[in-house]
């Protein structure tokens, strides 16, 4: 793989740019007399990063790490001291040269605002379920995409990582409540992205904060797309009077020491000889028929060949600032992560620029723009096997390469082992994706009269994706070879344009506070794809296609919406919010294009009443709230409601393949939105001036009319065998609890914050057809011909379904005792049902009919966790700081497909050392069944044999930092540098689990359409690496 950008050169450029900016920033200072001082808290603790602004100007500064500041002022100036969570103070300088200020804590942090979609709201008066994650938390450790950084940061927000660099991160808000696409809607500065995967090109360093909307009263303003929750990303806009330049660089390593114990050369040859004796018909004849074969001293550890230590590094630069005339922010970022498998990599480069200018006093015009480029080289799945499974199955007596440089391979056609030399695969196969994206907006905001604002915004999201897959011709020492080179290229382009017009009226009438928002919005989308293919034996050198075959298609979509919302409160004590959105979407038949999405919520801030118990119990904040709303989900394919005519049912006539036309799809003129009715009840409490905070939310999400490809009678001839219908119902109930405590004592500050969430999802209904009481999903073939997961009414989503393993039959007599002679495989009069003999896996006869049949399958595991939790701890003492994040999942089942690759024994391959204790002769008592060469081997049917408890707790992040003293900085940089911090960090350092696979954090199994087919299915994907990083942060 070629590198498309030279990383080191970019880092150098960033540094040079930073230095230049430092000098130019210095010139902004005015030339007057100097005042200095220190900003402290009531208990004497310093306030670093407090903003000091000269009133009426854009001049100002920020306190350093010890709370000190210096500023050029004139005598009449008034200084404004402010810091989030503290009460702003104004101080007249007069003739003083030292102005020390003590800022008081703002007890209810009333001014903290939350982005709620089409506007902002004070956190204190919020009546809906919204979690806010700050940019600092998001940037606590470097990640490939923003989704990963959300892990453990908000109650009810569950993240499942994909171990390989740049892989898809699953984001679930309050559990799964759809059978289709459960991805939340992602909105960046008011611009809709297409799905949460597109977050990969969003530069985490450019993010000011993320607000996660969870209940319907919050998400209903996004109407037909709000059902899965909404993630609102706000990028850094710059703060007037505060010019900040931040440079961050880091580098480190990633590795995993996890390996499966597999047979070595000696053990493997012995194993082959034993099974060849057992299968006396010669079916297992192989190299071991040569009695002198001993592997020639070769003992390749294929897993070690696959794994490596990867390097991870990156750099971010951000400049922001502004005045009363406008504000700006821009940043560049580079990120490069090598996978812990050979030939896997992810690189991201992004650039963002935001600006806003005030034209007159009542008009603001601004824009945001972000450009991103990423490159991913993904692991290659060959012959249906993940790289890890080829590594497990490969014979250890084959070298990676022979002395003359040829790739090693299974010896000849009689070797019997068809595993693929994984090093050969990575060298002859390219699997590269280049992804370029643009998102941004241009807006104008007019204040028509006091309190009445009109904002119009044009939003754009576009991406260009190049998929380049090349499988080059190759030769090996053995039977594996390929004479042709296959080149597959996909070129796709997506363009979404959006116009949003918002009219806001905000006015206080005495104690009555009213805010009305009206929105009109339209979105036009188009996805186009061209793919081209070539198979050639002319050359394997070239990467481009001549005279290939190609195809193209496009998927347009339109959405047109109105929204109205009213917020009312009385004295910020009694709160009410009502909203109604109307969406009209091209995805549905004309009669059903329009959907209405209402929501209402109420709240009562009890702590603003004069109740005696409040002060008696030191209650500084107490709020109760309730919400109810309806949202929708429109995640369904283009034209799903109607059939069309496909032209690719080719048939040869007169010796020439001709176009053939046939109907594609079925008709359903009744197709409409999925609807989700959501209720939320919450309490927020703050004690001791909010040193202790707690909140509890209880929710019930009830989804009706879930879009499902409902099975139709196959005699209808409908090609897919299904018609899209609104048939499923799912209910999710859960509780979210968050607790926080913070303490400052002198130089020592610490805080502890944790959350725990449950989301119990149950299928209520599956089909309009009474006889369909289950849907089997989750095709993982190979190795399993059966489907792994199931949906059925009254049961959890995507539960595992199969037999219950009771052990391994030690003798034939045990089979007879269990099921009678008629189930004994060696008995010619055997009846229906599975036949067994000694050494086979014994299954429970669930229905007690004396035979084991498909009827004996039952629910064998639930991949939905009982609860998830996270604990954040951070502390600082003088110049040192420490932070850690623990993330956990409890009460979850995993279907461990690794067990099949390590123990299945129905083909010739290397296996785990577990097979050394397999059943071999009558009387053997063991948990590993016999080697069984003939197909349809019941020993490997889906059963509890594969199900394990996947609960885990993981130290996701541990960081220790040290910031340089102000005196040292002064000495070294003469005031040009405001802050220097070094840190060391480890990700995934410790994982506590009983799970036997590499990693209990298992990404979902997606179908070809990108829809989830199953969760908790461990299929040998790359584990999360352990990471060690050292980094440097500099602020000017």
């Amino acid at each position: 793989m070629k590198k498309y950008l030279q990383f080191n050169r970019l880092t150098l450029r960033l540094t040079v740019m930073a230095i230049l900016l430092t000098f130019s920033a210095g010139h902004l200072q005015a030339q007057q007399r100097t005042v200095s001082g220190k900003v402290v808290l009531e208990d004497g603790g310093a306030v670093p990063g407090a903003s000091i602004l000269i009133k009426g100007t854009s001049n100002g500064t920020v306190t350093d790490n010890n709370g000190n500041y210096t500023l050029k002022v004139s005598s009449g100036d008034v200084l404004i001291f402010s810091f989030i969570g503290l009460i702003t103070q104004e101080v007249t300088v007069g003739s003083r040269s030292v102005v020390d200020v003590t800022l008081e804590e703002d007890i209810q942090s009333l001014e903290e605002v939350v982005v709620v979609g089409y506007g902002e709201q004070k956190k204190a008066t919020l009546t809906t379920a919204v979690s806010t994650i700050t940019g600092d938390d998001l940037n606590a450790y470097p990640v490939a995409d923003v989704g990963q950084a959300l892990q453990g940061r908000a109650a009810g927000v569950n993240i499942t990582n994909n171990g390989s660099p740049g892989g898809r991160t699953l984001i679930r808000i309050r559990g799964l409540s759809t059978f289709g696409d459960g991805d939340p809607l992602v909105v960046v500065d008011g611009v809709f992205l297409e799905d949460s995967e597109d977050l990969r090109n969003v530069n985490p360093a450019s993010i000011e904060k993320i607000d996660v909307l969870k209940d319907a009263a919050a998400t209903a303003v996004y109407g037909s797309r709000g059902a899965n929750g909404v993630i609102i990303v706000s990028t850094n806009k710059g703060t007037p009077g505060k010019t900040t330049l931040k440079l961050k660089t880091y580098g480190g390593i990633q590795y995993s020491n996890q390996r499966y114990d597999v047979l070595n050369t000696e053990q493997y040859i012995q194993f082959l000889r034993e099974i060849a004796v057992q299968e006396s018909d010669g079916a297992v004849a192989s190299v071991i028929s040569d009695p002198n074969f001993n592997g020639d001293g070769i003992n390749t550890n294929w897993q070690d060949e696959l794994f490596r230590t990867g390097v991870m590094r990156g750099a971010d630069l951000n400049l922001s600032g502004g005045s009363d005339k406008g504000r700006y922010s821009f940043g560049v970022s580079a990120f490069d992560q090598e996978g812990i498998y050979i030939d896997t990599e992810f690189q991201r480069y992004s650039f963002n620029i935001n600006s806003e200018g005030n034209i007159k006093n009542r008009v603001k015009i601004g824009q945001t723009l972000s450009l991103g480029h990423s490159q991913r080289v993904a692991p290659v799945v060959w012959g249906g096997r993940e790289p890890l499974y080829n590594a497990v199955a490969l014979p250890p007596y084959i070298p990676v390469r022979t002395a003359d440089g040829q790739f090693g391979s299974s010896l000849d056609s009689r070797d019997g082992n068809d595993a693929i030399n994984i090093v050969r695969v990575t060298e002859t196969q390219d699997n590269q994706n280049l992804f370029n994206s643009i998102y941004g907006n241009v807006y104008a905001d007019f204040q028509l009269i006091d309190g009445l604002n009109f904002r119009t915004q044009y939003g754009l999201y576009a991406f260009f994706s190049n998929q380049n897959d090349i499988s080059r011709a190759f030769q090996t020492t053995g039977r594996a070879s390929q004479s042709e080179t296959f080149i597959n290229k996909g070129r796709s382009q997506f363009l979404s344009q959006q116009i949003t017009n918002t009219l806001t009226y905000s006015k206080d009438f005495g104690q009555h506070n009213v805010n009305v928002t009206l929105v009109q919005e339209s979105q036009d989308k188009n996805f186009t794809n061209v793919s081209t293919f070539l198979a050639t034996d002319l050359t394997s050198e070239l990467e481009e296609i001549v005279n290939g075959t190609s195809e193209s298609f496009s998927i347009p979509e339109k959405l047109f919406s109105y929204l109205g919302r009213v917020n009312y409160d009385f004295d910020e004590k009694y709160l009410l919010q009502l909203s109604l959105r109307r969406d009209k979407s091209s995805k549905f038949p004309e009669a059903n294009q329009v959907g209405w999405f209402p929501a209402a919520s109420v709240g009562w801030i009890v702590s603003r009443e004069n109740f005696g118990f409040l002060s008696a119990w030191n209650i500084s904040n107490l709020k109760v709230k309730a919400s109810y709303g309806v949202t929708g989900n429109n995640q369904i394919g283009f034209n799903a409601f109607t059939s069309a005519i496909a032209r690719d049912f080719f048939y040869p006539v007169d010796g020439q393949v001709r176009d053939g036309a046939f109907i594609d799809g079925g008709n359903n003129a009744d197709l409409r939105w999925e609807e989700a009715t959501k209720q939320n009840y919450g309490v927020e409490v703050g004690l001791f001036n909010n040193a202790v905070t707690a909140s509890v939310d209880y929710f019930i999400n009830s989804s009706q009319g879930l879009l499902l490809n409902d099975r139709v009678s196959s005699s209808s001839g409908i090609l897919s065998g299904t018609i899209a219908r609104n048939v499923g119902d799912v209910e999710v109930k859960g509780v979210e609890l968050t607790l926080g405590y913070s303490k400052t004592k002198g130089n020592f500050q610490w805080n502890l914050w944790g959350n725990i969430s449950t989301a119990e999802a149950q299928v209520k209904k599956l089909s309009n057809s009474t006889s369909i009481d289950q849907i089997l999903l989750g095709n993982l073939n190979p190795p399993f011909s059966e489907q792994l997961t199931r949906l059925a009414p009254g049961l959890p989503l995507y539960h595992f379904f199969g037999y219950v393993m009771e052990g391994v039959y030690s003798t034939d007599q045990e089979v007879i005792d269990h099921l009678g002679e008629s189930s004994l495989a060696t008995n010619p009069g055997a009846d229906a049902g599975i036949q067994f003999q000694a050494g086979d896996v014994r299954f429970s006869d669930i229905n007690g009919d004396g035979v084991i049949t498909a009827e004996d399958r039952t629910v064998i595991g639930d991949p939905n966790p009982d609860f998830t939790y996270s604990i954040n701890f951070s502390a600082s003492y003088k110049n040192f700081d420490i932070s850690m994040l623990i993330n956990g999942v409890q009460g979850v089942d995993i279907l461990n497909a690794n067990t099949w690759y390590l123990q299945s024994q129905d083909f010739i391959a290397n296996f785990g050392t577990d097979v050394l204790r397999r059943w071999q002769r009558p009387g053997d008592v063991t948990d590993i069944p016999r080697f069984r060469f003939v197909g349809n081997n019941s020993n490997n049917f889906i059963s509890t044999r594969y199900i394990e408890d996947g609960s885990f707790a993981r130290l996701k992040n541990l960081t220790i930092g040290y910031s340089l003293n102000q005196e040292v900085l002064q000495k070294l940089f003469k005031g040009a540098v405001g802050r220097v911090r070094f840190y060391v960090q480890s990700q995934n350092l410790i994982t506590i689990t009983k799970y036997s696979g590499f990693d209990p954090e298992v990404e979902p199994l997606y179908g070809g359409d990108g829809i989830i087919q199953g969760i908790g299915i461990d299929r040998g994907r790359q584990p999360q690496p352990v990471t060690f990083i050292g980094g440097l942060q500099v602020e000017f």
Binding site: L448, S586, F662, R711, S714, G717, I718, S771
Partner: protein, 497 residues
């Protein structure tokens, strides 16, 4: 600072101009045509016809299970052990066996494709009357003939394997259709084939691969044989003309690639070997013009000729050399190679002209050939009491392979006297088994003659294969159909399943 009224008006106006008012979100499909606008040109009519053939190529039919299922039921075959064959060979199919579902579903997809073509007939004729189109009444007739022929062919596959099945003749009324009586299915097949035979072109007057009048008549005759309506069978079979039996030195052209569309061939499922990688689960869509026949029967020897089959051949019958390969047999281009493997089927493999079999086979499946018509004529005559005519037809088959004629002393000596109608029938059974071996005829022949229990029950070793004629003449209705069809329940399952 306050705004003047003019500024307020200006900004309000500005805002209003920015508000989009086009609320129409309905979109055209850029990728596919719709049914309303189809059948406007000859190309579109032909494409709909082509699409009706495509299901014959797919894995439920002649890519795989169309030959595997009926062949493995018969006594011509011995299982090679592969799960795709052993299940049907040992009569262990269940309503959830995938190949049963695939066979059923593929036939119905084919029927839906035919119904799409036939449903367009009124549009075609309207547009024809309106003028200004590039097709003629003959083109429409030919398309209708092909649609009717193919629909009958798909139902013929269904009725023999499942009995009475849902009768669907209109795609707008295709959901949740209950089972019909087998009689009604046979009636639809016959009426479709009569219309087809009146509309289709003769072979040579249409493109290679398309259904012809001769094919429709041949199939119609066969259907009447199954219905034991021998007068009608004779009536239609006798109308067939323009075909001949190939001479012995060209006999292999009935089974190889270079001999496709020869003078004996009446209907073929066409394969060219082209594919775009989607040959697994081939559902007719995409470039999957391949059959695995050669690989299944020869390359992988998943099913092999039974000893009974071998012994049925007379010692000097040249057809054995053309049908079966044994170790040491010559094969390949100009018979220049020597077969090193065990006993396998030679028929329909690529080994007549190649060194090895190919997974992505391009040898056409021969669904109907003139030898079958001659033997059907013999059967019809025999059943109508015309033994001598029957013997004449049988001897046409004998003459072609230069074997002694029935009714001669030599044949009497070989144990095939034809002095009584029963003896003629035994000769007919023998001749059909040999001439049409491994051509998906034997099992249905035995059922038609009520000989299935006698012939199929035990295998070469005398072991019971598990055959029960009251159950296994039919396959089970797929469970997927029973589950998803609102007008079907477990009570509609075939007896014994």
């Amino acid at each position: 600072m306050k705004y003047g009224i003019n500024q307020i008006i200006f900004y309000t106006f500005l805002c209003l101009t920015l508000v989009s008012c086009t609320e129409d979100v309905t979109l055209e499909n850029p990728n596919q045509l719709t049914e309303d606008t189809f059948f406007e040109s000859l190309q579109q009519i032909e494409a709909a016809a082509n699409g009706s053939y495509a299901q014959l190529q797919s894995s439920g039919l002649y890519q795989r299970f169309g030959y595997i299922l009926p062949d493995s039921f018969s006594d011509e075959m011995q299982s090679g052990g592969d799960a795709n064959f052993i299940t049907s060979w040992s009569f262990q199919l269940t309503p959830t066996t995938p190949q049963v579902d695939l066979y059923w579903t593929t036939c119905y997809r084919g029927i839906a494709a035919c119904n799409f073509l036939l449903g367009g007939e009124s549009k075609m004729r309207e547009r024809l009357d309106g003028g200004g189109v590039d097709f003629t009444a003959d083109d429409v007739n030919d398309a209708v003939g092909q649609g009717r022929f193919l629909r009958a062919l798909y139902y013929f596959h269904l009725v023999r394997r499942f009995g009475g099945v849902p009768l669907i003749v209109d795609n707008d009324n295709a959901l949740d259709i209950p089972r019909s009586e087998a009689e009604e299915v046979w009636d639809l097949i016959k009426s479709d084939l009569r219309v087809a035979s009146a509309n289709l072109f003769e072979k040579g007057s249409t493109e290679e691969g398309r259904a012809t009048r001769g094919a429709a008549l041949g199939l119609l005759g066969k259907v009447y044989l199954f219905n034991e309506q021998y007068d009608s069978a004779k009536f239609y079979l006798d109308q067939i003309s323009g075909y001949s039996l190939l001479p012995l030195n060209e006999y292999n052209d009935n089974f190889n690639e270079s001999g496709e569309f020869n003078d004996e061939s009446m209907f073929e499922v066409v394969y060219t070997g082209e594919q775009d990688g989607s040959q697994w689960d081939q559902n007719g869509r995409g470039l999957g013009e391949v059959t695995w026949h050669a690989q299944e029967y020869t390359g992988w020897s998943n099913i092999i000729p039974s000893q009974k089959m071998i012994e049925e051949f007379e010692d000097d019958d040249p057809r054995l050399q053309s049908s079966v390969l044994e170790a040491g047999d010559a094969y390949g281009p100009n018979n220049s190679l020597t077969w090193g493997g065990g006993r396998v089927w030679y028929k329909f493999s690529q080994l007549y002209e190649n060194e090895a079999t190919m997974e992505n086979g391009d040898t056409n499946a021969r669904l109907l050939r003139y030898a079958d018509v001659v033997l059907m004529k013999a059967e019809a005559e025999l059943m109508l009491g015309n033994s001598s005519m029957a013997i004449n037809y049988l001897n046409m088959i004998r003459d072609r392979v230069m074997l002694p004629r029935y009714g001669t002393d030599e044949m009497d000596g070989r144990g095939y006297p034809v002095d009584t109608p029963d003896q003629v029938f035994e000769a007919l059974m023998h001749e059909r088994m040999i001439e049409l071996c491994a051509e998906q005829q034997r099992f249905d022949d035995l059922i038609r003659w009520n000989m299935d229990s006698r012939e199929i029950t035990v295998d070469d070793q005398g072991t019971n294969r598990g055959y029960n004629e009251s159950i296994h003449r039919l396959m089970p209705i797929p469970q997927t159909e029973i589950d998803a069809n609102a007008n079907m329940s477990a009570a509609d399952q075939n007896p014994g399943y």
